[in-house]
């Protein structure tokens, strides 16, 4: 036993507190992350989102890969931590992990006897889901390398958490808020206020799909965590799998001291990862989520945290000696203590196998992954390039094909909803559909390409948008961009002075942007369909579009009409239009708008509105004109 291990032995009692520490950190991360998604009153989210979400693995990785920003290196920190301590990310930072722990804790507590005593159901050791695990991981990696983040987005635990909270928990919270606000207002207090549903989430195919997916994931994760602890993290989650690979070579890890183990199995019963195998006295460190529950229950201090790298070196030396020994003196070897051999050999055989055969492959795989991510082709990757090309072809094809029906479907659903809320309808419905050639992505997202390749669809921007205009899409961006948010001006417009979404996006899909720059970012351009316009169809004044226009790109010009009325009709100065959607939002025509925003696939810079000084001088002393 070396010096380090001795130190550990002295602090063995303190190891019990690691679980408490882990729980405290997990609760803090969970509460903060949940708060960010549920902060519909905007009580400080924007100030803390960057810090709180810094360590979220997938968004951070995407941010880093796309922008090579040091500020986005949170995932490297996570990898480093994993190399040192194992998968602590999974038990502290990952909000879906903590959510599973909460569900698991609630559902596994069963009431026994007279309903007084509460008893936890026990976990047992489970076999690793190796095929599923690495299969899902490889497929996710392949999709990603092929240019589709679809699988990554739908398997990323943080984004899943975000979607669950945005699309399920948040609406429930708002319903509760509205109910309580109503009661409070009835009692004369306006400390709360009611929130308009339509503002928060205009009903569309996108939002329905997002809700359906979130519910499905919640059901799956909930069921798995209730029945099998952290099975999701150890079979499906690609982050769990990747961190598991890193954990296999981690420095400090929990080990069972077989000499002190009394086989009481308490550690196994509390191990939600099911990774403690007491028959071999081994722990599958790639599945261990570092929850430290086992450390807290072990009555005989048999579970200890050891420096694996030192042991590893020692063991390799031993192995080499043993091989020589085997070679030279086989019979002598057999005279060795058999029990000890069994104990050691099994462990070492595994170790040996791992090191001798799969290790280079794994290394190559990780290397390939990393290189692949940054666009360096490797021989290893070449093999799969055909498959990748196929995948990417499959992914890109529906984009074009589905583009039109999507817009149509989302519109239809939205419109039907709008119809149902208003009792007074326009006498003559408009006839000419809007021709939308591109969806509108939020300011700061640079281009549709940049946005869709970086967005993990965590829906934080959907949660945070004060105007509620960022909504999950259906096929707007193609299948690959399923539920990635787009701008929908159905029930709101992008507030000219607002940069909320750009301040919180954890993946860098929406990059931070100053107010001044935002005011000159053209995300789309207003298009006018005269034949749909009230001024043209009814010969009455409207001008709602121009009213809302912050740059007066939409301005009113005299309109000569058959009835000889004094009318004005909108005209668009596209160069100063920023595509905020004020005009589209305000336009009262149905079912098609007379003015709408057609997205810019690549955002442009709008010109500044020309500001002339008013010549009219006011004289405070002049008489009243009446």
């Amino acid at each position: 036993m070396n010096k380090f291990d001795l130190n550990i032995d002295k602090t063995v009692m303190k190891l019990r507190y690691l679980k408490t520490l882990r729980m405290v950190i997990a609760v803090v991360f969970f509460m903060l992350t949940a708060f960010i998604f549920l902060d519909f009153r905007a009580m400080g989210t924007r100030a803390i989102a960057g810090e709180v979400l810094y360590l979220q693995f997938v968004p951070s990785m995407l941010n880093f890969l796309n922008h090579a920003a040091i500020g986005a290196a949170g995932f490297i920190l996570v990898l480093s931590f994993t190399l040192l301590f194992g998968r602590i990310y999974c038990s502290t930072v990952c909000p879906l992990g903590t959510l599973q722990d909460i569900i698991s804790r609630m559902t596994r507590t069963r009431i026994t006897g007279q309903g007084k005593k509460q008893k936890r159901q026990r976990f047992t050791f489970t076999r690793p889901q190796t095929m599923l695990r690495y299969g899902v991981f490889s497929l996710t990696a392949l999709f990603f390398i092929a240019g589709s983040g679809l699988l990554l987005n739908f398997l990323d635990p943080f984004s899943n958490f975000g979607r669950i909270f945005t699309n399920i928990v948040r609406p429930l919270l708002l319903a509760a808020n509205n109910l309580i606000a109503h009661l409070a207002e009835y009692l004369g207090s306006n400390i709360l206020y009611q929130v308009q549903w339509q503002r928060v989430a205009p009903v569309s195919m996108g939002i329905l799909i997002a809700v359906a997916i979130s519910l499905a994931v919640l059901a799956l994760v909930g069921w798995l965590s209730a029945r099998h602890g952290r099975l999701y993290c150890n079979s499906i989650c690609p982050v769990g799998t990747l961190l598991g690979l890193f954990a296999k070579i981690s420095l400090l890890r929990i080990q069972i001291e077989s000499s002190s183990c009394i086989d009481c199995r308490q550690c196994q019963w509390v191990c939600k990862a099911g990774c403690i195998d007491l028959t071999t006295k081994s722990i599958d460190i790639s599945r261990c989520v570092a929850c430290y529950n086992c450390l807290a229950v072990c009555p005989s201090n048999a579970l200890q945290i050891k420096n694996h790298w030192q042991q590893h070196n020692r063991r390799e030396l031993q192995q080499r000696n043993r091989r020589q020994l085997q070679h030279h003196n086989r019979q002598e070897l057999q005279q060795h203590n058999r029990q000890e051999l069994q104990q050691h050999n099994r462990q070492e055989l595994q170790q040996h196998n791992r090191q001798e055969i799969p290790k280079p492959r794994r290394r190559e795989f990780i290397l390939g992954m990393t290189l692949g991510c940054i666009g360096v082709p490797t021989g290893h990757m070449g093999m799969t390039s055909g498959l990748m090309a196929m995948t990417s072809g499959f992914m890109s094809m529906p984009t074009g094909l589905m583009g039109m029906p999507t817009g149509f479907m989302e519109m239809t659903v939205g419109k039907v909803y709008a119809e149902s809320t208003g009792q007074l309808l326009q006498s003559r419905p408009t006839t000419i559909p809007e021709k939308r050639t591109s969806p509108v992505s939020p300011p700061g997202s640079v281009s549709i390409g940049h946005f869709t390749s970086t967005c993990t669809a965590c829906h934080l921007c959907v949660s945070i948008c004060p105007s509620g205009i960022l909504v999950p899409s259906f096929l707007t961006y193609g299948i690959s961009g399923l539920t990635q948010p787009h701008m929908n001006f159905q029930s709101g417009h992008c507030n000219y002075e607002c940069t909320a979404c750009t301040e919180v996006c954890p993946s860098g899909a929406i990059l931070p942007i100053s107010k001044e720059k935002k005011k000159l970012t053209q995300i789309g351009v207003a298009k006018f369909i005269k034949e749909n316009c009230v001024v043209y169809t009814d010969n009455t004044n409207c001008g709602a579009c121009s009213e809302h226009c912050p740059t007066k790109a939409v301005h009113m010009v005299p309109y000569h009409n058959a009835k000889g009325r004094k009318l004005v009709i909108p005209k668009i100065n596209e160069s100063i239009c920023v595509g905020c959607g004020g005009c589209e939002h305000a336009c009262p025509t149905k079912p098609y708008r007379a003015i709408y925003i057609d997205g810019n696939p690549v955002h442009r810079v709008a010109e500044k509105p020309v500001e002339k000084i008013l010549e009219q001088k006011m004289d405070g002393n002049e008489d009243f004109p009446f």
């Binding site: 905007a42 509205n178 109503h182 004369g188 306006n190 206020y193 009611q194 929130v195 308009q196 339509q198 503002r199 809320t421 208003g422 009792q423 007074l424 326009q426 004060p466 105007s467 709101g492 507030n495 000219y496 002075e497 607002c498 009230v534 009814d538 009455t540 004044n541 409207c542 001008g543 709602a544 121009s546 009213e547 809302h548 226009c549 912050p550 740059t551 007066k552 301005h555 009113m556 004094k566 004005v568 004020g582 305000a586 336009c587 009262p588 025509t589 509105p609 500001e611 002339k612 000084i613 008013l614 009219q616 001088k617 006011m618 405070g620 002393n621 009243f624 004109p625 009446f626």
Partner: protein, 309 residues
Amino acid sequence: MDRRDFLKKAIGSGIAAGSTLAFTDFSEVGKLWAASKESKSAWDLVAVKGGEPDLMFDSAIASLGGMQNFVPKGSRVLVKPNIGWDVPPERAGNTHPKLVGRIVEHCITAGAKEVSVFDHTCDNWRQCYKNSGIEKAVKEAGGKIISGDSEGYYQKISVPMGKRLTETMVHEALLEADVFINVPVLKQHSSSMVTIGMKNLMGVVWDRRYWHRNDLHQCIADFASFRKPDLTVVDAYNVMKRNGPRGVSVNDVVAMKAQVVSTDFLAADSAAAKLFGLEPADIRHIKIASEMKLGQMNLKELSINRIKL
């Protein structure tokens, strides 16, 4: 307590103080006498010029006999400014916060039980409330600023005199109010030429789109018949002369330093239109409202107290 004291004094000696500058002939003196006797004002309309928004209102309301003429003790008051846009006060897209705050103070001093303030905004409502400075001003004055952003706050009403607008959803704060004070800002407007008091009432309904697609001017006039404000205070301190109603920059604004106060909203709108440089009859909704006999459009028919500070 300085301000309260001032208000009390203003109420006590208000009529005389406020109208001294307007003494032009003896008929006015007669009216003043009548007014002080009944503690009701003789003026149909008060126009003030040359002061800060709050001070102009002090003198205007004094000349109308003080706020207690309009706000009975224990009453619920709704003050409805224009808070439509997420712009700072100097852009004049919204009613001046100083004016709104001072009106709330007067109401509370007069003994109002509750003074509520809201607008159904066009830009994001919380940003509008905040950046207009109105939320702060109202809270400091002791008023209650409430949301107009949820359909849950609106109730369906019918508009008996409405030609195109026969029914609409109106904010419950208006339906519950004993006293309704409309505080519009005078601005150029892309669809209705100019926005004053009647147009400002679009901010108490839920569905504005219906108005826009069903003859806007007719709907504005129709709705004016639903509930006449007890007092209309037109803020013409800073006036947006173009690019309205939102405005693009401060260059769209002139400092007019004026205010119009009247119990007759049509008179207030007409006087404000004149201040803006338009003939009231040229603004279709004013003309329709006049034809509906909702008020007096012809300023020559009114007794006007003109105050210069």
